[in-house]
Symmetry: C2
Subunit: 187 residues, 2 copies
């Protein structure tokens, strides 16, 4: 006989919010950012003479299906990405719809398989701030493993302050989308 | 009644070469590059004041399961990545094992879920050269859709001339791996 559980069980969504109309650029962009949970974060490489250096990172912009648009990260300066950002905060986060499984048989480079690049500044969050608390909550909700990462590695919370959005989700070139339109949209 | 087809049917491998021992850095790196077929390609942005700009791109380093280690691309200057590279060839290609489905329940940022960043120069291949012919063959084999991409978009073949390899596939930090060791390895 099964025990009854009286409190709601939190879990990562198994039925992600369905794909928005590609004509709705803010909805499409926010969907890509909210539904994905990892991507490539590019910074200016200190070790490689300023080369653009992409690195696989996990991120979260909110609780599952409650994304707010701003990507948060949990990074260690043992890794070049955080080290680079502390010296030069210019960065971009690149995501693909392909990972979500909604591109069917399309090639990942097919314009109708959505892709987005958020460019801006990768900033260290103030220790013990409200925003750091929020970042921890939303990151650990989507990446439960993070709560066990070794304290000796000095992981810290960062966010990407978005300044430009490059979105392709259909034929016809990048979709015009301002940061304000992107952040204002309600999922 | 089905027609019998007498010639062999080419297809993308359904049984990818099994994952090498993470202790074997060249094998592990070449496996990640050969088994993946798309990733994030970062360049120095012309439009965004030199920001590191990642973009989702398809690539190929050889016929399925016959990778040779050098990533080739089919890019159009209608897209910022190719435009950036023609002005400043510094670039990196970032790939994750997560896409291959062999990371199990590990987080994409878990060090034992392999990730690799190849940094170097993104170079346009000489028109009608032997290398361009090879690039077309290996790209179209892994990305059949490419052969139908619109000629008016002026797609051209590029390669990444690798200068540095950043590989993490286990706990204990990046694996030392020279470009020579990487290219010399036979799959």
């Amino acid at each position: 006989m099964e025990k009854k559980v009286s409190r709601p069980i939190k879990r990562v969504s198994r039925n992600p919010v369905s794909k928005p109309d590609p004509g709705n650029a803010p909805a499409s962009a926010r969907w890509l950012v909210s539904q994905n949970s990892w991507g490539s974060l590019s910074t200016v490489s200190l070790e490689l003479a300023g080369a653009p250096f992409g690195n696989v990172v996990s991120y979260s912009d909110g609780l599952p299906d409650e994304g707010q648009g701003i990507p948060y990260f949990y990074l260690t300066t043992l890794d070049p990405t955080a080290k680079n950002a502390l010296k030069d905060p210019r960065a971009s986060l690149t995501l693909s719809e392909y990972i979500l499984g909604t591109c069917g048989k399309k090639d990942p480079m097919n314009p109708s398989c959505g892709k987005i690049t958020l460019t801006g500044k990768l900033k260290l969050l103030e220790s013990k701030s409200k925003e750091e608390e929020f970042a921890q909550k939303v990151l650990f909700a989507k990446h439960p493993e993070m709560s066990g990462w070794p304290p000796s590695h000095n992981f810290r919370f960062f966010k990407l302050e978005i300044e430009d959005i490059f979105l392709i989700n259909a034929f016809g070139g990048p979709k015009p989308l301002t940061v304000e339109e992107y952040l204002r949209y309600k999922l």
